[in-house]
Amino acid sequence: MKFFTKRKKHKYINGTKGIISIFLCLIMTPILTLASALIEFSRYQNTETIFQEVMDCSSLSTLANYDAYLQKRFGLFAISQECNIGETYKNSISENSNVMEGMTIGESVSAEGILPLSDTDVLKRQILDFSESTVLTEVILEDLQLGELIKQLDKLMAIEGLLKVLVDTNTMNQKIKKMVKTGEELVEFLEQLIIKIQSLQGKVNEALSLIADLYAKLIEDEFTIDTTSEESEKKSYEYLVSNYLDDIKKIHEKEEEVNDAVEVVTQELVHIPDKIVQLNNDFTEAQKAIEKVLDDIDAMSGEEKTSSTGETKDATVQLYEELLNEITNVLEDVTEDLSDTIIATFAAAIDEHLEQIERGLGLDGSKRWNAGYYDLPLSDSAKDTLEKLLSELSVAKEISNDDETNRHDAIVSMLKEKYVPDAFYWSISDIKTDVNDIIEQAKVSFLGGLKESLGNLLTNLINVITSLFDLDVFYDGKLNAYLNEETLATLAYDSGNNNPYVSLLEALASIISAVQSFNEAIENWNFFAVLDGVTNLYNALESTVRAIVELANGTIRKINQLVTYVTTEDWEAFGELLLMSGYLVHNLPNRTLVGDNDIEIDTSLAIKTKLKGETLTGFSYSEIVTPQKVVSGGVTGETDDSEESNQSATSAILELVAFLDFLGDTQTGGTDQMFRGAELEYILAGTPSELMNQVVVFFEIYFLRLLIDLVPIFTDISVAKMAAAATIASWVVYLLEVFAEPLCDTILLVNGSENVYFVKKSCYLTAKGIPVLVNDLSEVLINNKTVRQSAVNKVNAALTGKFDKYTDATATFTKGILKMDYATHCMLLLMFTTTEENMLGRMANIVQLETNYYYEQKESQQSFDIAKAYTGLSATVDVEFDSFIKIFQSNSQSALIKKQFSRTNTY
């Protein structure tokens, strides 16, 4: 303390040495601090930028380990499952980060796969990216000639016209049914009337018989009227009334019955004109409904017909008009006969009869029996009546003298002869005969006309349908995989298991059955059976329409969506749908690609079907790896070649329905667990059974063709010619054409024919079309071992020469627009019927099945899980930066700046 004396302290404080250094320190410190902070800030930002690039490089290095099989087979990118994503990324970022001095990567480096292909959004993007050039070109170049297709679709937008036809046809059906019902009621009414008239006739006979009995008694009792005086005459009448009162009462009662019967008949007669008017009205309404349908058809296809063949339109309309005229004539004849002949004759006979009866019984209105008649003394009117009754007694006496044994009958005959004209009996029997005759005449004109015009047309058409169904081409028996529960459990997407076409098949069977019954009824001249046949046909048609509507309801959302794309001109969404559908069609095998050789069995006992063609990536379908495991005891679906089928079309359809039910119910089956040959069918149908999938697609195409073929069927002059030949059964011919023509197209398509046009101009099932059909069928079926040769022969026999009589010299078989094969039809089905969710989910299942089997077969025996087929990478890294000036760090172990980086990268 002595050192710091007051003097020294004063000198130290007031000293000036080193003051500049202190000044500089004070000034430089904040300035250098600020400058250093700026440098660190700048370094940090640069480092962050560079490190993000380092992370991107590392992510890409990891993504480079893509699954080569997936890329080659499906054109899809995903990180190979042989690659450990975390380790690969860690190694990569460790190497890459060496470029940065002063940076430390912490322990926390994590990288995980994201966006697996099992996510349908991811799968969709990859499919679209792959497809944007390749599929579009393929579709334009090979499939659709898209510009022309869209133009045709534009024409088909006249589908509204088609719907109008269907609605109006339904109305027409109701009107015709009503007309037929009214006709049936009239016939039944007339029959009842005949019975009542016969009853009246019987009562008249009984009344006459009672009078004859009274005469007989009076003759036997030798009764006479004493007319000597007024008093004696009165006593004679009183004697008559008192002694024969019971007989007189009986006559009176019977006469009352006769009057009642007459009253009944008279009342019934009043209704006849109304019923005839009703029949005429119903006919007129039916006629209008038919004309409306014809107008609709004409409007729907008018443009097509006039643009192609101007004469065709006139000829077709003329044929329809002839048909209508014929129907009109038949009905007019019947109604005319009923009104002019029967009713007039009957009414006249009844009037005359009533007069005679009243005259014969002495009952001419004013002198009717009354209560006073039975009492004594008699009233004058009763006396007059008895007097008239007895006036013929002398005649009766003469008869009784001739032959006592036949007295009664003789007196009745006499009374009939005198008081009941022959016309009474003649007219009743005549009415009955006339009615019967008209019914018979109607039957003859209706059935005879039908039989003569139809000839064997219906029989031939039914035979064609039968033989087509007998071909057993609904599925290819070799493609019979069935996914069991174990396999289904490995799939990410539940694709469902149902066949909506069973109800449609059953409805078709009922139509074929109804047509057969109708045809048999015509053959057997059974008029009422024909009417029943008509009713059954309408019912069958109604259930078919219902089945089709139910079917359409299932896909109505998709169709609405598609229509919305077009109407709102959302071509981007439409394009995406087109690309996805095209991708699936051109990268997945279908049943038409199965080779001619049945199967080959490799050393591992795996069953292979030889497949033609390749994917758009150039991957041959025959390289698709076949599952090693073979499931035994399953449903093979193979056709027995030795079986000679001779069943009807109805039973063939019902047999198919039963087979589909069996496939739907059974939980086992199939020779393998992968849809190697019918993958496209799986995308469309989605059931675990390869056989079922084929059948479903068969009928989906059939359904599509059924709609498309409506236009050519109703515009083809040859079909119109056949229908015209069938006169009033023309609609049955049209009905069979509507259901049989698409069947021909579908059979050709599923067997790989490339001769089917999307929009046809001529129909196969016509005289001109049959040779073409036979030729096309021969091309695709003769070498196809899945189809029995006998069945092919049967089709040829059913087709050849059977329709020659309906040939129109002016008609020619013209080609259609846009040739379309099976695959392209499937593409349209994908666009029109399959939801995006189903398309992508089922595609994910196919990828899972195929790729998994591929890796199982490799030596590594590694499995594949689509849920782990990642298409992106999410990485997180903790990083520490050393500061530029260490002074800012509290100690050498901890860095100034710590930062967590995250990056996401995808293919």
Binding site: I31, F41, S42, L60, L63, D121, T137, T617
Partner: protein, 231 residues
């Protein structure tokens, strides 16, 4: 006279005088250095932002509506991926990315600027340059005007004339593996197609003309005929 001589010989206040002179010069130099430091920092920052934005777009070129590109990809982002983004849709992709950059730029600048700006930073240009089939790069130029610390001194000494404007240009190669693979795949497909056509007889020209005709008819259908356009 002697008093005057003695006054000048005294050393009292010498330090004050010297320090005043030194301080003036030192402060001038330091302030200038600080200002220039801020100037360089701002320029570096703008460079970094331009590079960051170009890199972010290029590394996920296909994603146009990703909210947070660093952390996650939403299904919405996937669903909005455009087709033909490396060919006919480049203009549309460019517009979407440009829109994103314009909206993100001010926010991004706020995170690291040390300047005071009256105006938002400006995206001077945004280009997607096609280098080859399926390959492109992004070119971004951004600029911003802002006042920095002591920029008045810089103006006083004539180093800058007005409020400093920082401009930076950055480029980054676009990465779109699936689109690029699609192009490669397409070329492979076309070559196989041509090979097949050649083996079936030379129908290449016909096929190519068919493609052109179909594309023409589609365009005609979608866009209307030339007559309609004239009308």
């Amino acid at each position: 006279m002697k008093k005057v001589r003695l006054y000048f010989k005294k050393e009292n206040g010498e330090i004050m005088l010297e320090s005043t002179l030194i301080m003036i010069f030192t402060l001038i130099i330091l302030i200038t250095m600080i200002s220039v430091g801020f100037l360089f920092y701002q320029q570096a920052m703008v460079n970094t932002i331009a590079a960051d934005m170009a890199s972010d777009i290029a590394v996920a070129y296909k994603i146009t509506n990703q909210e947070d590109s660093e952390n996650s990809l939403t299904s919405n982002a996937l669903n909005d991926i455009q087709l033909y983004r490396t060919s006919v849709s480049i203009a549309s992709m460019k517009a979407l990315h440009k829109q994103n950059v314009e909206s993100e730029l001010p926010e991004r600048v706020k995170l690291s600027t040390l300047g005071v700006a009256d105006k938002d930073p400006v995206l001077e240009s945004f280009e997607v340059v096609v280098d080859n089939v399926g390959r492109m790069h992004i070119e971004i130029t951004i600029s911003m005007e802002c006042d920095i610390l002591f920029d008045g001194a810089l103006k006083y000494f004539g180093i800058i004339d007005s409020t400093p404007k920082f401009t930076a240009c950055a480029r980054a190669e676009c990465l779109d593996i699936t689109a690029y693979a699609s192009h490669v795949q397409f070329l492979d497909y076309v070559s196989r197609k041509i090979e097949k056509e050649m083996s079936n007889g030379n129908k290449v020209i016909t096929s190519i003309m068919g493609i052109f005709n179909d594309v023409d008819s589609i365009a005609e259908l979608l866009l209307g005929t030339s007559d309609e356009e004239e009308e």
